[in-house]
Each structure stands twice: as structure tokens, then as C-alpha cells.
């Protein structure tokens, strides 16, 4: 099943839908393509990484275009998809700048988002039949 799903080249619109789903729910793109083991690992690892970052008093950065590094961090944070919006709705991720773990928390949150972007690119390659 996995091989058949992986070898099937997706249509263009389905590819972009797959990428959107893969972005919104980490690992969902791989699960959709029948790569269950990878999908579950991404879902668990990236979500845990994001939650760990919040627990370490990390901050969900605002889209402040006057501060380019803050804006770039915000884009990276958004990369994790659904967990980002859940955290925003719950009002967590304000970040405690005086906490000793603040920078560690930011690193976890940003890395989770960037890794999920790589996962989305992997889904794109699989859907296009390149992998």
C-alpha cells in the first residue's frame, strides 16, 4: 500500500492540498500518502518539540515588520501549523524574557516550525513522484 501510494504521482491541485494539510497538521501529509511510520514520528516529535518550547517559557513572536528578526521568527513559529493557532487561542506563548529557559524555549519553537517546513517539502517531493 505504501509503495503504491508513494509511487503515484499526484495532480497539481492535490499536491498543494497535501502540502497545506502537511503544514497544518505535522505528519498528516505523510499519513495521507501512506507513510504511516514517518507521519506518526513527525506528528509526535514536532508537536512535542513545540509544546516543550512553550513549557520552557518560549515566545510566539508577533509579525513586527519593523524588527526583521522578530518577523522571521514569527514566520518560523507559524511553520508548525495547527499547534501554533491552538497555542494562540489558549493565550500561551507570551514568553517570559527574564526566565532562564526563555532562549531555549524560543529555539525549540522556532526549530519545530522550520523542521515542519522541511517535512512539507518532503511531502511535495513524494507527491511529485521524486522520492
Amino acid at each position: 500500500m505504501r509503495a503504491a501510494a508513494a509511487q503515484r504521482t499526484q495532480t497539481s491541485s492535490l499536491t498543494y492540498l497535501l502540502c497545506a494539510v502537511a503544514w497544518f497538521v505535522p505528519g498528516a501529509g505523510h499519513l495521507w500518502l501512506g507513510r504511516r511510520q514517518k507521519g506518526i514520528v513527525f506528528l509526535v516529535a514536532l508537536t512535542l518539540m513545540f509544546v516543550f518550547g512553550l513549557w520552557l517559557e518560549g515566545r510566539l513572536f508577533p509579525f513586527d515588520m519593523e524588527q526583521p528578526l522578530v518577523a522571521l521568527s514569527a514566520i518560523a513559529d507559524l511553520g508548525v501549523g495547527c499547534p501554533y493557532f491552538i497555542a494562540r487561542l489558549m493565550g500561551v506563548g507570551r514568553g517570559d524574557v527574564v526566565a532562564i529557559t526563555y532562549e531555549y524555549g524560543n529555539t525549540f519553537i522556532i526549530a519545530a516550525g522550520l523542521l515542519n517546513m522541511l517535512v512539507v517539502l518532503d511531502v511535495f517531493d513524494i507527491a511529485k513522484g521524486r522520492k
Binding site: 511510520q37 514517518k38 514520528v41 513527525f42 516529535a45 514536532l46 512535542l48 518539540m49 516543550f52 531555549y104 529555539t107 525549540f108 526549530a111 519545530a112 523542521l115 522541511l118 517535512v119 518532503d122
Partner: protein, 50 residues
């Protein structure tokens, strides 16, 4: 650092390898590399003042 290295090496290993045995071998090497590099850089920076 260890937890971060564990997460990142797990995701990279699963992302870049398809065979579970290869994933474990590559992930372990990556994890060791992260820890080794972290300790080495920390040791090199130790004499520098804050």
C-alpha cells in the same frame, strides 16, 4: 541540549532515510554528532569571558 538533539536527530533521520534500520543508525550518528559538537564548542568557549 540533549532533548533538542534528540528531537532534531529523530526528525532528520526519519526524513532522510526510508529503512527503519538506516533511520536508527543515522539518527544515532546525528545525535552523537550534536552532543559531541556541543561539548566540544562549549569546551573551546570555556576560557572566554562572558
Amino acid at each position: 541540549m540533549i532533548v533538542f538533539a534528540l528531537f532534531v536527530s529523530t526528525v532528520f533521520a526519519v526524513l532522510t532515510r526510508d529503512d527503519p534500520k538506516e533511520q536508527i543508525a543515522f539518527g544515532a550518528r546525528l545525535f552523537g554528532g550534536f552532543i559531541g559538537a556541543g561539548v566540544l564548542i562549549g569546551w573551546l568557549l570555556y576560557p572566554l569571558p562572558l
